[in-house]
């Protein structure tokens, strides 16, 4: 990260110290009390040393943010920092690290919408050494948490002056960010039972080997289909004509699959609850190895069912960023297999 600015702040302990120093100087001059002169000298020396050392400490500090790629709302999130001290002479001591909420010329950060503060403390970074530390926060909701700037400050050695350095990412177009997935909401007993039976069917089908589907037909591509399922040879002419490609339609699914359909209720808070419920269902489905697909008609999202981890992550990430606008569906909802289970959350009309 690159340094944006360096600042000295005088805070109230420093103000008290300066006032006391001035009083001691006044007393020394007034009374010609030599020991007061000496105490005044100590106070001035303390001020000078404090300013020089805190400046020297922060002059050699380099920091790199290590944000986690993903997190879950309501669960601890560990934001890491790698802090290095380039100085050959002085160790860096008592460094406070804070995510900074404003920065000149930068859009308002979004991390402050998720957590009240992100801060960490490192007591010691040796000369020409590196330390890795973490700050643990709990995001309040799902979304994309973007970090903008980072402030490192210290009041070391004597708490008189506070010196700070503001860092920001070298390329502002690619800010650090963490995707916060929705907090999973517990499903009701009926749904859990339904998912359990679905899981049992899926397991049975998997063991019997009939789950390996054979392409039996072609159909037109719809949004959400995997590109790997496109039949390119058959689609070539269609694509040249400007039509959608064709995708292979398997004889599957013979095993139980789950479709989650999210429909906006028109109320944003209710929609958030829906997303959390979907996450809860997803958790249970993953735990029982049920292939899961998701359809969000209002947001043009359709993901075909699968139990692959990458596929599941795609659904989770979709849930993290999706917004449910109250509008009519545009996505063409595929016809589910008769053995599939469809779970509609939200407006079931």
């Amino acid at each position: 990260m690159v340094v944006v600015s360096r600042r000295y702040h005088l805070h109230w302990p420093g103000a008290v110290f300066v006032i006391t120093t001035l009083l001691v100087a006044l007393g020394a001059i007034n009374s010609q009390h030599n020991l007061l002169y000496w105490i005044f000298g100590i106070a001035v020396g303390t001020l000078l040393f404090s300013g020089v050392l805190s400046g020297a400490v922060l002059m050699g500090v380099e920091i790199q943010r290590l944000p986690p790629a993903r997190g879950v709302a309501g669960q601890p999130l560990r934001v890491g920092y790698r802090i290095s001290n380039r100085s050959r002479l002085v160790p860096a001591l008592a460094l406070h690290i804070e995510e900074w909420s404003t920065s000149k010329g930068k859009p308002q950060p979004t991390w402050s919408d998720f957590v009240p503060s992100i801060r960490a403390f490192v007591p010691w970074v040796p000369r020409r050494g590196t330390q890795i530390l973490h700050s643990e926060v709990i995001p309040a909701h799902r979304g994309k948490m973007t970090y903008v700037a980072l402030r490192v400050w210290t009041t070391f050695p004597f708490g008189i002056t506070r010196k700070s350095v503001l860092f920001t990412v070298a390329d502002p177009t690619t800010p650090d960010e963490t995707l916060i997935r929705p907090a999973p909401l517990a499903t009701d007993a009926a749904q859990t039972q339904q998912l359990s039976s679905l899981a049992a069917r899926s397991e049975q089908a998997r063991r019997s080997g009939i789950e390996t589907g054979v392409p039996v037909s072609l159909r037109e591509y719809v949004t959400g289909d995997s590109p790997r399922r496109i039949a390119w040879k058959r689609s070539a002419l269609r694509v040249m004509d400007g039509r959608n490609p064709l995708v292979r339609q398997d004889s599957r699914p013979t095993a139980g699959r789950l479709w989650i359909v999210l429909r906006s209720t028109g109320d944003s808070s209710a929609d958030e609850a829906l997303i959390s419920r979907a996450a809860g269902v997803l958790d249970i489905a993953i735990a029982r190895s049920v292939p899961v697909g998701m359809v969000i008609p209002d947001a043009d999202v359709m993901v075909h069912p699968s139990a692959a981890p990458r596929h599941i992550a795609q659904i989770y990430d979709g849930l993290a960023t999706v917004t449910l606008p109250a509008r009519q569906a545009h996505v063409q909802v595929p016809r589910p297999h008769p053995r599939d289970t469809v779970l509609v959350l939200g407006d079931e009309s």
């Binding site: 000298g41 050392l53 050695p157």
Partner: protein, 780 residues
């Protein structure tokens, strides 16, 4: 040790030292001991060794700390503040009272510790207590304690900074603070801050820069610190008849260097020096004071101008004339340093003061009759040189033979009949005529000696007195009933007895100097050396010398007064001589240390500052710069040749450089000796030359990697980031061998090291050729 634990321990040590210094400075060892006990209790309670009712463990911090319930703490703080305000309202605001209040708050705060902020408040209170202690006393022991406390306070504050962060982020997983992590910074801070403080101490301008009358001096706040009872010390008034215990304060008030006969500083010929401060001539019912105007009791009516005189630095002010002809007197030069002078203070001198000189401009008042001097000025240490002419009694008597003798009338008013009766009986027993009309003036000295012997023999010395009965004259009560008392009773009795038989007398208060320090070649005068004695005009005065004028301007010469001390000599020695046992010797050693402290630190003033700077720096530099700048007025050419000037400048630059380099070298030497810097520095060169070469090759190779890692990281860590697995394995093998040699003492064979060097170069070549090929490919 965790930062929090270290902070708590340091806070206890800092508090203990501050409380001890304050207690010693205010002469309240009992309070200091009590406060130290409370610190020890706090430490033991924090450790869990003892449990105290109502003291609740605080679970908010990761450190085991204890605190009384809030209501107890707040009540105690309120009581302390009310007491402080009460004292302030009923008397002057004094630093001593403020110190007591701060000390009490500090002790309370030791038992109210809930967070790091409370520890910081304890440190702040300790610092303020130290500042207050400095204002109360400049003695060496409290000052040394405070100097000792400075590095501890600095270390504690630094630890508090770290501990505050640790406590604030106590939930996060943190790297531990290694042992000794703060040591280097603390040492650097202490060295730098002490250096700055010494420079400021030496160079900051001294002298009255602001109008003194507009500001109340801090020192005056510190006045009157004595509690109930009375402490020995000089006073220009005497009040007899009050009971109580007079404690003996060992505080040093004067340092006196004496020089006699041009032999340099040393012991005086006489065993004890009587340093006069005030001459008290007016007596009324147990009270002595200085006269407002001359009267018969004080001797002939002389013109006594008491207008203040301004004495320039180095100017010699004559006070009295000489004693007589050659051989009738000797001269004693006294260099006196008063460690703490009030705004109006008597200047002490051995009888009889002939001249006085100051190092700074001073305003003084001379009482020409009693030959006492007082000075008006700032509350600050004061130094002066006074020359005294000591009349030799036998010579004076011889000089008076055949001359007219002046005794003068002596008033016997206010002298109880019983005292006169006792005086007459004493003289009768000594076969001396009591009636002054019949007794020759030459017998006055014998009469005084007889009465002095009577008091020394028949009466006992004590500092523990009961009050004189109401309505009785205290001196009469002392002579007839109590028959014991302190020096003021003895002196008053002799003075009144002498007056009752027609001899002019006066009571003198001042100090006796009997404790000579060989280490400093000076007399140490303590508060307990305050004394009262008698001067009586018993030497017959030649009439032609009575009002001698013209010899020293209009200043008359006044002789004839002799010193008599009726205090029993064995008690006198016990009080005023140094203690011969081990404690006394330790005390003398401490006094020597205090002498140097006062002479060089407490008494450092603008004159010394100028002398220091002139002597140490400016003169040397000025001489050389002046030599460089000198120009021949006729030719306009520099007087020094170009080569010489270049040599001078070059020499100065080189000298300065050598001093700086030498200072760094000394610092490094100290660092090597004390902290093993060399061992740490040599770690980087512990490799053998072939291994070091291999290390450099690997380092260079890693630097050329697309994702180059920082050089300060360990080799293995850097190698882990290498993309090519094959390269990674080869390099890791080398790094492991290098680590084994550096840290495990397993040397790498030089041949193997050179083979690996070639291998690394090969790797480098491969990588570069791959890059080149890639570039060619993309270009094609």
């Amino acid at each position: 040790m965790s930062p929090l634990l270290r902070l708590r321990t340091l806070a206890h040590i800092v508090s203990a030292i501050a409380l001890a210094a304050s207690g010693i400075a205010q002469a309240q060892p009992a309070l200091a001991a009590g406060a130290l006990l409370m610190v020890a209790v706090a430490e033991l309670a924090c450790r869990g060794t003892i449990s105290i009712p109502f003291l609740e463990p605080q679970s908010s911090s990761s450190l085991r700390t204890l605190a009384f319930p809030r209501w107890i703490t707040l009540t105690a703080i309120a009581l302390v503040l009310i007491r402080g305000m009460w004292i302030a309202l009923n008397s002057n605001v004094q630093i001593g009272t403020l110190c007591e209040t701060v000390a009490a708050l500090l002790v309370i705060k030791l038992f109210d510790r809930r967070s790091v902020r409370d520890e910081a408040q304890i440190l702040a209170l300790a610092v303020y207590l130290c500042i207050g202690t400095v204002l109360v006393s400049q003695r060496v022991v409290p000052s040394l304690l405070i100097i000792t406390n400075v590095p501890l306070v600095l270390a504690a504050v630094m630890t508090a900074e770290v501990a505050a962060g640790v406590a604030r982020d106590s939930g996060a997983r943190q790297q531990p603070l290694p042992r000794g992590a703060l040591r280097g910074v603390t040492i650097a801070a202490v060295a730098a801050i002490f250096a700055v403080s010494v420079v400021i101490f030496l160079l900051m301008p001294r002298g009255p820069l602001i109008d003194q009358s507009r500001l109340r001096s801090f020192s005056s706040w510190a006045a009157g610190l004595g509690g109930s009872g009375r402490v020995t010390g000089f006073s220009d008034q005497i009040q007899l008849g009050r009971g109580g215990l007079i404690s003996e304060s060992k505080a040093i008030v004067l340092d006196v260097n004496v020089e006699e006969g041009g032999q340099g500083p040393g012991r005086a010929r006489t065993d004890t020096l009587y340093l006069r401060g005030a001459a008290l001539s007016v007596y009324a019912t147990g009270s002595w004071r200085e006269y407002a105007q001359s009267n018969a009791a004080t001797g002939p009516n002389l013109d006594r101008p008491r207008d203040p005189l301004t004495i320039a630095p180095g100017q010699t002010q004559v006070i009295s004339g000489t004693a007589g002809g050659p051989g009738s007197s000797r001269t004693l030069i006294q260099r006196i340093r008063m460690r703490g002078a009030d705004r109006v203070v008597p200047l002490f001198a051995v009888w009889c003061p002939a001249s006085i000189e100051f190092v700074t401009e001073e305003r003084i008042t001379i009482d020409r009759g009693a030959l006492t001097i007082s000075r008006q000025g700032q509350d600050a240490p004061l130094s002066y040189i006074v020359s005294s002419t000591i009349p030799i009694e036998s010579a004076a008597v011889a000089a008076a033979a055949g001359s007219a003798v002046i005794r003068g009338d002596v008033s016997t008013a206010n002298i109880p009949r019983e005292i006169a009766q006792i005086a007459r009986e004493v003289l009768s027993r000594a076969r001396i005529e009591p009636d002054p009309a019949i007794r020759p003036a030459t017998d006055d000295a014998l009469a005084m000696r007889a009465m002095e012997s009577y008091l020394r023999r028949e009466f006992s010395y004590t500092l523990d007195l009961v009050a004189a009965p109401s309505g009785r004259d205290p001196v009469e009560w002392f002579l007839t009933s109590e028959r014991r008392g302190h020096c003021e009773y003895f002196a008053s009795a002799l003075a009144l007895m002498g007056r009752s038989v027609g001899i002019p007398t006066r009571v003198i208060t001042g100090y006796v100097a009997a404790e000579f320090s060989e280490a400093t070649s000076s007399y140490v005068v303590r508060q307990s050396n305050a004394h009262a004695w008698v001067e009586a005009r018993t030497s017959p005065i030649p009439a032609n010398m009575l009002m001698e004028s013209g010899q020293h301007g209009e200043i008359p010469t006044w002789h004839g007064w002799q010193t008599y001390d009726p205090t029993p000599p064995e008690d006198f020695r016990r009080v005023h001589r140094p203690d011969p046992n081990l404690a006394g010797k330790l005390g003398q050693w401490l006094d020597s240390m205090e002498y140097f402290w006062v002479a060089n630190v407490v008494s450092y003033d603008d004159a010394k500052q100028t002398a220091f700077l002139d002597r140490r720096t400016t003169t040397w530099i000025e001489e050389r710069v002046r030599g460089l700048m000198q120009v021949d007025p006729e030719t306009g050419e520099p007087r020094q040749s170009a080569i010489k000037r270049i040599g001078t400048v070059g020499g100065m630059v080189m000298g300065t450089t050598l001093v700086i380099v030498g200072a760094f070298g000394l610092l490094r030497w100290v660092g090597v000796r004390l902290w093993g810097w060399r061992q740490r520095a040599d770690r980087s060169i512990e490799l053998s030359p072939p291994s070091a070469r291999l290390y450099r090759e690997v380092d260079q190779w890693l630097k050329r990697e697309p994702l180059a890692t920082a050089s300060q990281l360990p080799l293995l860590q850097r190698i882990a980031t290498v993309g090519d697995a094959g390269h990674r394995g080869v390099l890791a093998e080398m790094a492991t061998a290098l680590n084994a040699e550096r840290f495990g003492g397993k040397p790498i064979p030089p041949e193997w090291a050179m083979e690996q060097v070639a291998k690394v170069r090969g790797l480098t070549h491969t990588a570069e050729s791959e890059n080149a090929a890639r570039g060619d490919h993309s270009g094609g």
